[in-house]
Symmetry: C2
Subunit: 286 residues, 2 copies
């Protein structure tokens, strides 16, 4: 199941229904973690992503826990950021389930590759400026022997290029596109932590990308858009997020994420939850 790009309002209706009926939720990203309160409080939550204190699970370990819990009779939701089949290895997990005789279905999600630019005002297509959108994984450098991406071909095309997982290779990617013939002045937008209240947008050009990104201190996760549309700013006012830019501190007595914070984030607020001691019963004063 795709969790969408980070904004809880961009979960699908079916996704929310299935989460509410889950016995087990296997989750690997912060985007997903914000949605966990949709699951029953009795559900087992298994975090398989890296955290400050734990390593991330191997793909084999993830496949094994999905199969194991399903065979034990549980309804298992595998919650993945964005769309599960866009560089999400959802296909491998579905394959592992099928091989083990575990029936499974897919619930597509709103992909960060398209939604994060849109929410930052960048339409990936606009009139005839883009009849072609390329979504590419930047986790391998253009020069890496394992890379199957035709960067020279991309450079020569007129496609809007959306790079996911590319922050660590920004300089190599810009160099490869320039070497392939994309114009130095090609607009670029780098959207850091998109679809969340912490969103930051860097606007630059292809020749200045690497220097500007370093100067701005861009960090993962970020979506990089290269092409004429990256200069656009189409949704400067977003009525759907009336609390955008507002930070709200939510005090809780339970460590689990709460519905109030989810609702606040859906309205655009930066809801920060903190666990506090349950207040002692009031002592009457005279």
């Amino acid at each position: 199941m795709g969790a969408g790009p980070g904004d809880p309002g961009l979960l699908t209706v079916r996704g929310r229904e299935l989460l509410a009926a889950a016995d087990v939720v296997v989750v690997d990203r912060l985007a997903g973690a914000m949605l966990l309160d949709h699951a029953p409080s009795s559900a087992e939550i298994i975090h398989v992503g890296k955290s400050p204190t734990t390593r991330s699970w191997s793909q084999e370990e993830i496949n094994a826990v999905l199969v194991d819990r399903a065979r034990a009779g549980a309804r298992v939701v595998r919650l993945k950021g964005g769309d599960p089949y866009v560089f999400g290895r959802g296909g491998e997990e579905a394959e592992a389930c099928a091989a083990a005789g575990v029936p499974c279905g897919v619930v597509p999600g709103v992909t960060s590759a398209l939604a994060v630019p849109a929410l930052a005002g960048v339409p990936v297509t606009h009139r005839d400026a883009a009849q072609e959108i390329v979504i590419v994984s930047g986790h391998l450098s253009p020069g890496h022997p394992g890379s199957t991406v035709d960067w020279a071909g991309l450079a020569a095309s007129r496609a809007t290029i959306v790079v996911l997982m590319g922050v660590a290779r920004l300089m190599d990617i810009a160099d490869a596109l320039l070497a392939g013939g994309r114009a130095e002045a090609t607009p670029v937008a780098v959207i850091e932590r998109g679809a969340t209240p912490a969103q930051r947008v860097l606007r630059t050009t292809l020749d200045a990308l690497a220097v500007d990104a370093i100067a701005a201190g861009v960090r993962s996760p970020a979506v990089i858009v290269v092409g004429e549309v990256a200069a656009r700013d189409d949704a400067a006012v977003d009525l759907t997020r009336p609390l955008a830019g507002v930070r709200v501190l939510v005090a809780r007595t339970r460590p689990r994420p709460g519905r109030l914070a989810i609702e606040l984030r859906a309205l655009g607020a930066d809801a920060v939850e903190t666990v506090v001691a349950r207040p002692a019963p009031a002592t009457p004063t005279r």
Copy 2:
């Protein structure tokens, strides 16, 4: 607002909320029409797409009605199939609103380009089979002077190619990819009316695509996937749609689409609504 690919369960949570608060809904596709019952019964519904009895509106006319209704104080939802910025001209409409001083926001949707293949068992990426996904509009033939798509470059790449609006140009598209060097045996999946109970999937290869599509009588709307992943069939059993393959006749006394049919479709059923006369009060018989 994106309506998603056709399955009502793939509307976003925020999309449903905003529809429920709409004064006016401007809709152009069947995918959107199935969701109209989420709007209040008092909402004005404006169909701008082509129907058997009406022509489709020009982009200027659509822009004008959005601005007009908004200026009159209405909350206007512009409901578009899939995602509004993936060849949906959503950017142009946002631009028109901005130029007229009408504030607007964007609600991304699940795009048909990725979800329709996924629901048909085709993951657009799988392991290292695809580090690159290209979404391309096939509404202009590869030889058309207005086409900005680099078909030769696409052919030479190892990207998964997803073609939208390409049914009318299937032969030209296959020829262009073969001429550019894509292997004749490259798997192709054509998914007609995807994400609906009427889905049909054609599996073939690039060299046989045109002939097989004609033989199968493929018609729009269809999503075409070219690449190694098109041979995959990952979600043969879809537990999320328990009524898939079941046709249900829903009798109604009002011509407007009803919630029962929406719910049935969300479960995978092919719900066919028919308007019947309201039953006369029962006449007592002795």
